[in-house]
Every structure is written in C-alpha cells, then in structure tokens.
Symmetry: C2
Subunit: 140 residues, 2 copies
Amino acid sequence: MAADQWLTQLQENGYRLTEARRIVVEAVEKSARALTPIEVYDIARKKYRALGLVTVYRTLEKLEELHLIQRVHQPLGCQAFISAGEGHQHLLLCQNCGQVAFFEGDDLDVLTESIAQKTGYQISEHWLQLFGLCANCRAD
Amino acid sequence: MAADQWLTQLQENGYRLTEARRIVVEAVEKSARALTPIEVYDIARKKYRALGLVTVYRTLEKLEELHLIQRVHQPLGCQAFISAGEGHQHLLLCQNCGQVAFFEGDDLDVLTESIAQKTGYQISEHWLQLFGLCANCRAD
DNA sequence: CACTTATTGAAAATGATTTTCATTATCAAA
DNA sequence: TTTGATAATGAAAATCATTTTCAATAAGTG
C-alpha cells in the first residue's frame, strides 16, 4: 500500500491532511525497517524542519489505530513501528540491519489445536516472528 | 524450577543472597501470571516492608541475565516478567486473567525453511506466542 | 473569502527506569 | 566468632519516553 493510500485512509476517517502528516507518512511507509518515533522525527525533519516530535507521536497513533502500521517487538525494545502489511502477515527481522520481510502462510492450526487440548485454553490469536540475517548481511 | 534453585543460581554466579532477593524471587517464581516491577514490588512488600522499588528492578535484571525469567510482550505493554521455564518453551496467555501456560513442541522447521527460501534470509530464531482464554475464564 | 474547529509545536507534566551516593549487610578470611 | 572488604541496599535525583496542556495556526466547509 502506497503513502497516498494511507493519506486517503486518514482523510476518509475524518482526519485532515497536513504537511506534517504527509511527511511522517512518507517516512514510515518508505522504510524497509521499523522506525522509532525519534527516528521518524529525524528523517522527517530533513524535509520539514518545523515538525514537532509530538506530532510524530500523534500521527503514529492514528496510523496504528487505522491498522496501517504496527508496533514491532524486539529484544532491545518495542518502540518501533512498521507498515502493517496486507491481511494476516508476520515479520522476519534481520538481526544485523533491521530490514523487515513480510510473510504469510503460517498454518499453525494443527499446533494450536494440540496446545488447546493439552492446556484447556481456547486459543484465539497468535504472534509469530522470525529473526535471522537478510541476504545482504548474510554475505558480509 | 523452584525458588531455591533460583537463589542457588544467583549465588553460583557471584551474587549475594539477601532478604530482598529472596522475597523478590519468591514472588516472581510463584506467580502464574507475568508481573510488572511495580506488581512485584507491591506483592513482595507485604512480606518485606523495607524493600525498595529499585531493588526489584535490579533483581529482575539479574534474573533475566541468568535466563531464569523472561520479559513478556503483550498488546498493552512489555514490562512484565515471568519464569523462563525450562528449555525451549513458548507462552500461551489468558487474555482475561493473564494466567500463563507454557508449551513446547512447536515444529516450525518446515515453515521457516519455506520462508527462508522465499526471502533469502537465514533464519536463526523465532518468537511464538498464543493468546486465548484459560479454562476458568472460558467457563465464565 | 470567512469561519469553525482540528492540528500544530513548545513547554510542562507524567510515568517508567536508571544512576548516584551514603549506609548497611553479606560472606570470606583470620 | 569476629573482622573487614565490598556487594547490595533504599532514597533521592537524574534520565528517557510519552502524554497533556494550551495558545497560535491552518485545513477545509460553506
């Protein structure tokens, strides 16, 4: 999904289109790795000097609310965000450069069914995330 | 693994055994759900009034370093800790009461192999976590 | 173009965590 | 045992991320 569509989404949900939002959206949507609010701020401010960090926080909040971005949980912290991708997707993170690959096709039904049996839980959701090295970092 | 063994682990790694550590270890080890530092503090202080919150933070830090506890990532926050369990385990969290069940037997090799092929990544680790309702909460 | 009100950035407030530091307690060695 | 070096403690201060407040500004409707 392209930056324009994120802006349209914002607009269709009653939010105004502002320069600050355009720049923040662009920075996050373009990034191949998860960005923290400060990182978004630093990147975005190169194109829009007057941008405030608070506005970054507020824009990320709205993008998350509209399911356009998601928070990424990592061993070193959980402040970064990346595009939510489309449909039911999971993340594969490069431990060296942070590059994120999306994947679907996780068929965990057999596993969850068996765990449900053993534990007595009714399972309704799962989080799956893979870590490794991307092709580039692997080569080094 | 029992509280005593955690204390032994601390000792064997050069840490002194103190009343504060005993109480914190007991609180965390006994808990069926993940506890935040403040929650540990509140529980532990019932048995040891003089305990400081800073000591809770410092003790949790050491327990994590020794792989006796692990941080639990949840939609609402990632500050809570629970026993690390034994060997390669994953968590199943009750979305109502927070009760945690451990499970192993996740055979993701087929999946990771296929993802590795598609993405070019070399996959070395995975996070898997299930959410649902425990038997008790399910009944309500 | 005018007007309503959502949005903005700065500053202050909050909440979680870490650091500093003087005091106290653990534990190894005498 | 008692002693002594020093690790551990709690309180207060410092730091860091995030949220709230508020007056000024800008978006978009009429």
